[in-house]
């Protein structure tokens, strides 16, 4: 009862102060109690529909509970009810900042299940599109992290580059955003020499533009103070929590699936895996900046080394035939009909296939019982697992660092929520 009267008197004191237009009302023990701050799901700095419940002591974060699931669309259930080919467009909607990389990851998993391989030209092109997707994702990271800590120019500059990339994607896949470019056993279509010339111009110019952004950030006192030593995670904790991608490489672990378990033609290409040891937001930023340069190196090598030839494997019962052949040849018409209506009929078995997506290890676990659609398809999405590290990174930081930490983690909710 006594407490209540105190509360009422407090309220009325605030009210009175407001009415009197005093701005200097103060209480002796205003910070005595913890406060729960609900951030999101609709919040510009949470990069989608991430919701955080943050317990605050004054301005210091005491604890944090991430809540996800606001973008859950049930892709794993959908996958069980559509054929292997029909699922390719759904992979665009996982990590929607790098759809080409998801397309590649998914068809690699199905090809592993089927035991087939795409022809060399398709493999080189898949490396090229995966690296373009990595650049696209990291540019988004660069722009949004810089914007989260208050540097709006970098956002504009990185989006200028991403705009050029979307033009490339449009020429490569026919769509800017939802590309659905890969096919089981190959690609939707070959890339024209004009587009390859555009890609070459883009990657030749990109390092200069990255340098421009770095000039704004790397010696910028505000940027450094907002990221240096913020959101630290130790190597042991990172491995225990399944952290992958640039975040893990910023903790001093040089784990990159492109080097560790090479897929496609990565073992024929020369590139380095940048590793930093800070484990903080700044280290994650450095890793991604270096990775963009490595991706440029990879694409330049692909453009030099890429052989001519077909981009579809010759496996009539597994790989969709070309449209012009479907309309003119009997055999291809039959195969097209069978694949579209009944699926590719993979063997009975289970596989797990993972690639190094821009955000970490993107894996597909497929359990097949020999039918045209997967019995179970599990998507191991890097953002889902990486978000688990948020409570550790946030503990003890200031409320203003929260957006910097989320920005440095670079989660995409389309992928975390599936």
């Amino acid at each position: 009862m006594e407490q209540r009267t105190e509360e009422v008197s407090r309220k009325s004191r605030i009210l009175q102060a407001l009415e009197d237009q005093h701005t200097s009302v103060s209480f002796e023990d205003a910070l005595e109690n913890d406060m729960i701050l609900n951030m999101g799901p609709q919040h510009p700095a949470t990069h989608g529909v991430l919701r955080l419940l943050i317990r605050l002591d004054g301005e210091t974060v005491v604890g944090c509970v991430p809540e996800i699931g606001y973008l859950h669309r049930g892709y794993e259930k959908l996958a069980e009810n559509c054929t292997f080919h029909e699922f390719i467009p759904h992979t665009d909607r996982l990590d929607y900042l790098s759809p080409l990389s998801n397309n590649t990851a998914y068809v690699l998993a199905v090809e592993k299940l089927l035991g087939i391989e795409a022809p060399p030209r398709a493999q080189y092109l898949r490396v090229m599109i995966s690296e373009l997707a990595r650049i696209s994702s990291h540019l988004m990271f660069l722009g949004s992290l810089a914007m989260d800590v208050g540097a709006l120019t970098v956002w504009m500059w990185s989006f200028r580059e991403r705009e050029k990339q979307y033009d490339l994607f449009e020429n490569i896949a026919g769509a800017r955003f939802t590309t659905s470019y890969t096919r089981i056993g190959g690609l939707a279509q070959d890339v024209s020499p004009e587009t390859l010339a555009m890609v070459k111009t883009f990657v030749d110019e990109l390092p200069g533009h990255i340098l421009e952004c770095e000039k704004l950030l790397n010696t910028n006192r505000i940027f450094l103070e907002r990221t240096d030593g913020i959101g630290v995670i130790s190597t042991g904790q990172a491995i225990d929590l399944g952290f992958t991608g640039p975040g893990l490489r910023a903790c001093g672990v040089g784990h990159d699936l492109r080097k560790a378990n090479p897929y496609l033609v990565y073992k024929d290409l020369d590139f380095d895996v940048p590793v930093y040891t800070g484990g903080d937001a700044l280290a994650r930023y450095y890793v991604r900046m270096d990775e963009m340069r490595e991706s440029v190196k990879l694409i330049q090598q692909v453009l030099q080394k890429m052989p001519a030839g077909d981009v579809h494997a010759f496996k009539p019962k597994k790989v969709l035939p070309r449209k012009e052949q479907v309309y003119t040849k009997m055999e291809e018409l039959i195969h097209d009909f069978m694949i579209v209506n009944f699926g590719i009929e993979p063997p009975v078995g289970e596989i797990y296939s993972a690639v190094e997506a821009p955000k970490g290890e993107l894996g597909f676990y497929i359990y097949s019982n020999g039918e045209g659609s997967p019995w179970r398809l599990k998507i191991r999405s890097p953002s889902f697992v990486n978000l688990q590290t948020l409570p550790i990174m946030m503990k003890g930081c200031m409320i203003s660092d929260v957006v910097a930490i989320i920005g440095s983690l670079d989660p995409v909710m389309g992928e975390a929520d599936k």
Binding site: G74, K77, A260, E350
Partner: protein
């Protein structure tokens, strides 16, 4: 590598406890539910195998009368760059498995997701709440008897 892992596990846990199969070069080990935590801890702490990284944990609904549900653990060794898969079956009535959050912290959210989607209860889990679906939702959507179009009325809409 695969043969050595099978041999080591069979000497440690008995010939009958481990059931091994291989497909496309990937080793799958079926492990009894009660010994999954010891198997995981053994594989993580073994100085040769060092499976220090749980890449993925997923549920599986076989839709059979016996051994209906399974949990699938995809393990990875950062030093050996090697993958294996563990599989544990549980029954349709009252599906329960011991948690492996004590072995790998990352299992926390994965087990929450498996509980949410399949209804497998992980005993000893520190915070077993639904991760995607609302807390008051009664069904488990990735079970094979849950229809694709959902169950009308199962997701309560806000009152007008």
């Amino acid at each position: 590598m695969n043969a050595r892992i099978v041999e080591a596990l069979k000497t440690r846990f008995g010939e009958k406890a481990i059931e091994a199969s291989e497909f496309r070069g990937e080793l799958t080990l079926v492990v009894p539910g009660e010994s999954i935590v010891e198997v995981c801890r053994f594989l993580r702490d073994d100085p040769v195998f060092k499976f220090d990284f749980l890449a993925d944990l997923s549920g599986l609904d076989m839709f059979t009368p016996a051994k209906r549900f399974a949990a699938v653990y995809n393990l990875y060794s950062l030093s050996n760059k090697h993958r294996i898969r563990l599989k544990v079956f549980t029954e349709e009535e009252d599906p329960k498995l011991p948690t492996v959050t004590g072995v790998w912290g990352t299992a926390n959210w994965h087990e929450r997701e498996t509980y949410d989607m399949f209804g497998i209860v992980f005993e000893g889990h520190p915070d077993l709440r639904r991760v995607y679906m609302p807390d008051e939702f009664e069904h488990h959507p990735l079970r094979k008897d849950f229809p694709l179009m959902g169950i009308p009325g199962s997701l309560p809409l806000p009152k007008k």
